[in-house]
């Protein structure tokens, strides 16, 4: 029998803010184990708070499995900078209170409806029967924020690897959008040039485009993409080695060393992101076998997805969309989407009740250029993106 033990330890200190006051401080210390075994070529998987139980159950379930794997990886991790900041280990309640004061003092005319400030330290270790024994310690800080103003509201998020979050700037931006939202108007239905700001880019692309680059989806007939196919002029790179990247890591959740993978090169499909199993099937292992959580087996998932858009554009005359509602309802196979704008503005006025719709592959072809600074929102590293002639229904 071959085996793999994945262990994750998590320590988190967080504060929840409700109606402008800190309501709760929460700490958690958790430890989980996930075992995979290969018994007669069949893969069994189980997770538990006990390593022994995980290993026993993985063997038990392997008997009905038809999931095939020949072996587990043994690789030397890649050196990646900016994953761990010791200062996050030292975050305490007083530090959180100071950050809260910064948040509250940054909002002048509106109200913080709710916010969560969170600081996490995570240790992952993976061992397998082929001799792999790798460890990584990482840190992550985040603030989720909703600001309300006279019936308007705005959501914003800021994240980082260190404890230094850009709280003031995020809060001011949320307030500006909440104020605009409170005075929002309808716009006429029609075709508009649209700028998706980084949060909206992530929301749309994560659900409608990224799944088409999954090696598992490609090999199971759930993607329209094939190597060499051309979709617009966009360059997309999956890069878990990005210094300070939110999804950066030295190795993936199977122990495969991290590396940079070009997904789209000026519109030409070059590669798909893969885990150990589907990488072998498609002939290219990219080190993208990630687990949604300890209880889930690894599967191909994007890390940091970098949008490389060389042409600069601007906001002039465009419908500027900061965030969307319902992005998860997009069709991950066909790429069709129809989404409600949550925070949007047109010629300085807030917009309400507007829906954009189209197909992600068609949208990419209409990419005009980038707007503003590059930032990372969850997996996506991009500036704002301007697209020509997007259909808007109001």
């Amino acid at each position: 029998m071959d085996w793999e033990i994945y262990k994750i330890e998590n320590r988190e200190l967080s504060a929840e803010i409700e109606s402008g006051r800190i309501k709760l401080i929460k700490s958690l210390v958790t430890e989980g184990f996930a075992a995979r075994v290969i018994l007669n070529g069949r893969v069994g998987f189980a997770s538990s708070t006990s390593e022994k139980e995980a290993l026993e159950l993985a063997q038990k379930i392997a008997r009905i499995s038809e999931d095939k794997l020949e072996d587990f990886p043994v690789e030397k991790p890649t050196k990646v900078d900016g994953i761990y900041f010791k200062e996050v280990e030292e975050v305490n309640s007083d530090f959180i209170k100071d950050q809260f004061e910064i948040l509250i003092s940054s909002i002048e005319r509106s109200k913080v409806a709710s916010a969560i400030l969170s600081y996490e330290v995570t240790s992952v270790s993976i061992k397998n029967s082929y001799g792999l024994d790798c460890h990584e310690r990482s840190t992550y800080s985040s603030m989720l924020l909703e600001v309300v103003h006279n019936g308007g509201s705005a959501y914003q998020i800021c994240e980082g690897r260190s404890s230094k979050l850009n709280i003031e700037e995020t809060a001011k931006k949320a307030e500006r959008l909440a104020i605009i939202s409170s005075k929002s108007k309808k716009i006429e239905s029609g075709l508009y040039d649209v700028v998706l700001m980084p949060l909206a880019v992530h929301q749309l692309f994560f659900y409608s485009l990224y799944p088409s680059f999954s090696a598992e989806n490609v090999s199971k007939g759930r993607s329209q993409l094939a190597k060499g196919k051309k979709i617009g002029e966009l360059t997309l790179v999956d890069d878990p080695t990005l210094p300070n990247g939110l999804m950066s890591c030295s190795f993936d959740d199977e122990g495969v060393a991290s590396k940079r993978t070009i997904l789209l090169d000026r519109g030409i499909v070059k590669s798909f992101y893969s885990d150990w199993k589907y990488g072998k099937i498609l002939g290219e292992i990219t080190g993208n076998g990630f687990r949604e959580e300890c209880s889930m087996p690894p599967s191909p998932s994007p890390s940091n997805v970098l949008f490389d858009v060389r042409t600069k554009s601007d906001l002039d005359g465009a419908l500027v969309i900061h965030s969307l509602i319902g992005a998860h309802t997009s069709n991950p196979i066909s790429g069709e989407f129809s989404l409600e704008c949550l925070n949007a503005e047109f010629n300085g006025d807030g917009i309400k009740g507007a829906m954009i719709y189209g197909n992600i592959f068609g949208l990419v072809k209409n990419l005009e250029g980038s707007v503003g600074e590059v930032e990372q929102v969850e997996n996506t590293v991009t500036a704002g993106l301007r697209f020509r002639r997007v259909r808007v229904v109001s």
Binding site: I325, N331, S334
Partner: protein, 425 residues
Amino acid sequence: MEFFDIRKIQTRTLSIQIENGAIEKPRYECSSIKSFRVLKNGFWGLFQGNVGEKEGLEMAKRNAIFRSDSDVIELRSEGSYVMKVKENPLDVPIEEKASLIRDLEDVIKDVCVSTKVTYFDNVREFHYKDSFGSDVNYTVYRVGISVIGVGKGRTLQFYSQRLMRAGGFEVLRDATKVAEEVKKILPKLVDAKSPPSGKINVIMDQRLAGVFVHEAFGHAVEADHVIQGSSVLSDRIGEAVASKEVTIVDDPSIHQFGFCPFDDEGVKTRERVIVDQGILKSFLHTRETAKKLKGEPGNARAQGGEFPIVRMSNTYLKPRDYKFDELLEACKSGVYLIGSRGGETNPATGFFHFNAQFGYKISNGEISEMIRDVSLSGNTLDVLREIKIGEDLKFDPGFCGKSSQHVPVSDGAPHVLCRAIVGGA
């Protein structure tokens, strides 16, 4: 007042899926969680970790270090519940479960380029104690299957159906019907046309109307949103917020997917009428929001050991008199939208958005061609002002996410006719 509570939650989940003819990623998940809360000087401290009660409470108390205005309803609750099931899923051999999904895949495979059928069962053992002397425990089973087919015609499309409920393995004895539905719809969906767009008449089927009630209305009556000032229904108790046809209820005590005999603050659950004939009657509450807004607790839920927050359970729109044919006739021209790929709402503004799985155009009161990739958006209160409600209530299960916590729920409704913005690619 100083208050504390302790939750111990043990879960065991089995999940098996078959994809394109092979059983892949079968998995067991066992978890054991202890969560401790202390309320001191109006401020909450929470600690989650695998430690003894004394140490856990001490750790939680260390987090309760500031001052605020939180308080809870004083309520002592006692009780024990073990769900009675005909076929305990833990006693059914794993081979039989694998055989079930293999049979379901056989039903759909001829119309698919790709398949995915998933089985799961889950047992949740919950134990709650608090400083008022409450002592509650329960054991609840949930089982389910989902059937997803990907088909290819003029477009690549997927269609999914599921059956999930609180109960034993007997819940799944009718599972073949679910696969038959996928087999019937998918071959037509791949050649369906794009939908019309604009503000038009819409008949929603029970699943989509259920999602509407949950997403577009239910979240706005969660009292934490009201307290945060992020609900369009703040300060509107006793007011008409919908047509007189509309009665909306949340009821954790019925054996649908959102069933729980006690909430995650140990409070025995019961039916809560939210809207009665168009009048907003009550919000949904935790112990804390109930104290603040003078309501009744019983709607606190948490994912694992997280802080319990106000959540829906089994939320439904009560049926009225319209037969489906009468709704079609009243609609005249518009769309009939079926199923849901999920949705989202902003309770602060009342704007909602969700996607149907497919639909049909309606012309001259009759159903005509099939449409795909269609979504629906609008403002909740506008829609509820002019709505015609059918007679055929059905529930649809799912998982609801809020504040990064996911809990099982079900949404129910009959067919309804309304006016909303429809769009699609």
